[in-house]
């Protein structure tokens, strides 16, 4: 095997050399990137710098968590979902109902909503295992619509078209009261987003996260290195449902209102757009995308309150035609990535 090994026999002990390099590279994979620190610092700074913008910042944080959860399904496992809002809306209703009838402690409500959404995700995940992209589109869309129809029909529980209102929440952990300006609300959502992102970050760099990308990249090969694709997809889908449900719960808790709109199709489409704007498969795309999307949508709804949907549609079309890969690649030009590719290119 000498010829094949030639290039590595320059050093005294090629194997040990390769091992130490591999260890270094693997550690480097999960290292904290520069832009991560920047984004979290910016989010905290926004609290002090933009005291009048708490509501939109809260909206961004919630949408970001929702989008990051979808990234696990779309960017990692490669499943295009048209009904991710089923879990968002379900979580919102659970949180609303809990606050209305049982317990007004937000953190407990958040956790319960997350768990129940996860159960819903687990149950429905078995339906997306089968068939092609097309059947998955049908299934995810169908589940989303079914949840919306359920909320509509069970008006005695959900308030039907009027939604759920008339509940208020206790201070977070009994310490921080929700204020009129939404300052507590923002910090609460930001904290949940941070914890959620950190958890999903760990997942992304685990063998599990890598195996999801393998399933997305080449399912046949993934099977031939013994990746149990179905089990992994079920797990990923369930985790994504947990965090989507939590995002919904945050919306219910910070606005003290659940409208049937939380289950509307356009939310599933919006969150796809968010992720596509920010880029898929590295989690922070959801956060970058949420910032951009919310700003654009906010601006559009001022300029053209009734027809902003047209421009969202236009953005989608233009984005695809230009090539979303090309747009999403901007992240590679951030300084940290640059230094990384230099080292690895050697």
């Amino acid at each position: 095997m000498s010829a094949v090994q030639q290039e590595t026999t320059v050093t005294a002990n090629p194997t040990a050399d390769a091992e130490s390099r591999a260890t270094r590279l693997m550690k480097r994979r999960s290292r904290v990137r520069f832009y991560e620190i920047v984004i979290w610092l910016a989010a905290i700074a926004a609290y002090f710098v933009l005291p009048s913008k708490m509501l939109i910042l809260t909206e961004i944080a919630i949408l970001a968590l929702f989008a990051v959860s979808l990234d696990l399904v779309l960017g990692f496992a490669g499943i295009v979902s048209l009904g991710h809002t089923a879990f968002f809306g379900f979580g919102a209703y659970i949180a609303g109902l809990l606050a209305l009838h049982f317990i007004a402690e937000p953190v407990i409500g958040l956790i319960v909503a997350g768990i129940l959404s996860g159960v819903l995700g687990l149950l429905t995940s078995f339906l997306i295992l089968r068939g092609s992209d097309l059947t998955r589109l049908m299934t995810t869309l169908g589940i989303g619509l079914m949840m919306a129809e359920l909320a509509n029909q069970m008006a005695w529980l959900t308030g039907g078209a009027d939604g759920l209102s008339g509940f208020s929440l206790n201070p977070v952990l009994g310490l921080f009261e929700f204020d009129l300006f939404g300052k507590t609300g923002y910090l609460y959502c930001l904290a949940v987003l941070f914890i959620g992102t950190m958890i999903m970050r760990r997942i992304a760099f685990s063998p599990f996260g890598l195996s999801l990308k393998a399933i997305k990249g080449n399912p046949m090969r993934a099977a031939m290195i013994a990746v149990p694709a179905r089990k992994r997809i079920v797990t990923a889908y369930t985790i994504a449902a947990v965090f989507a449900g939590m995002a919904g719960a945050l919306l219910a808790q910070t606005t003290s209102f659940v409208s049937p709109d939380v289950l509307a199709f356009h939310r599933s489409a919006d969150v796809l757009l968010v992720l596509v704007i920010g880029g898929t498969g590295y989690l922070y795309g959801g956060i970058f995308g949420a910032v951009l999307f919310t700003l654009v949508k906010d601006w559009l709804s001022v300029v053209t309150p009734q027809y902003w949907m047209f421009y969202i549609g236009l953005i989608l079309v233009v984005l695809v035609l230009i090539g979303r890969d090309r747009l999403a690649r901007w992240i590679e030009y951030l300084p940290e990535r640059f230094s990384k590719s230099k080292e690895e290119g050697r």
Partner: protein, 285 residues
Amino acid sequence: MLTILFDGVAYGMLLFILACGLTVTLGLMNFINLAHGAFAMAGGYVTVIMMNRYGISFYWCLPAAFLVSALIGLVLERTLYQWLYQAPHLDQVLFSIGIVFMAIAATDYFMGGQQQLINLPPELSGRMDVFGVGVGRYRLFTIVVCALLAVALQFILSKTRFGSRLRAAVDDRRVAMGLGINVPLVFALTFAFGSGLAGLGGAMGAEILGLDPNFPLKFMIYFLIVVSVGGTSTVSGPFLAALLLGIADVAGKYYVPAIGPFVIYALMIVMLIVRPNGLFARGGR
């Protein structure tokens, strides 16, 4: 009972005409066009405008709806869709959702958000009695027209020169091009034809399905069920799937109004469990 069945058949036939264009774009060009309903909506609004504003006969509106939708389809295919045939499904989904959003907002802007009503010609309205079964005249008309179209479609695809070119272009694009078949032209015509059929379905369905700017979204799930349950390799698959869906939906809403809206989802889930590769998929892969 038979009346329900009859209404269900009419509904299913309409769904077939609406969805069969999607079957073609999907099966032949591997393009997931979620905006298919927008072409149907265009046909519906063409009819509404022609009838209600200009008083043109309903019978003239149907071919006009077909032509206008087909033309829109042709233009969009040449300018936009054709660039995305090789794109990942995610791109196609995003793109076509974008088209849907634009169509909804634009329709809302020009026509308003309300339900549109059309006045059918007198000979098509009302019911008549056939062997003791109450039969809606318009529904009978729908069934006859759609059945004729389905037969014509089957004939075109299997027996004509264009049909064989289409199948060749789908089987192997490069070989078909080598044989001197103008593949882009075949695709464009097919796309236009499918859009035209959707427009015709939208025009005929305005009375039965209703028509408002949210039409493309409302019926997206129906179209998806028809093509994924019926498969894309035949005409008869989607046809039977559409009939089944139509009958189940009508019967469900009539007999169990409380859970009627869920019948189609139940059907979808049962199908997924029993026949994940479609109702009429051939064995194996």
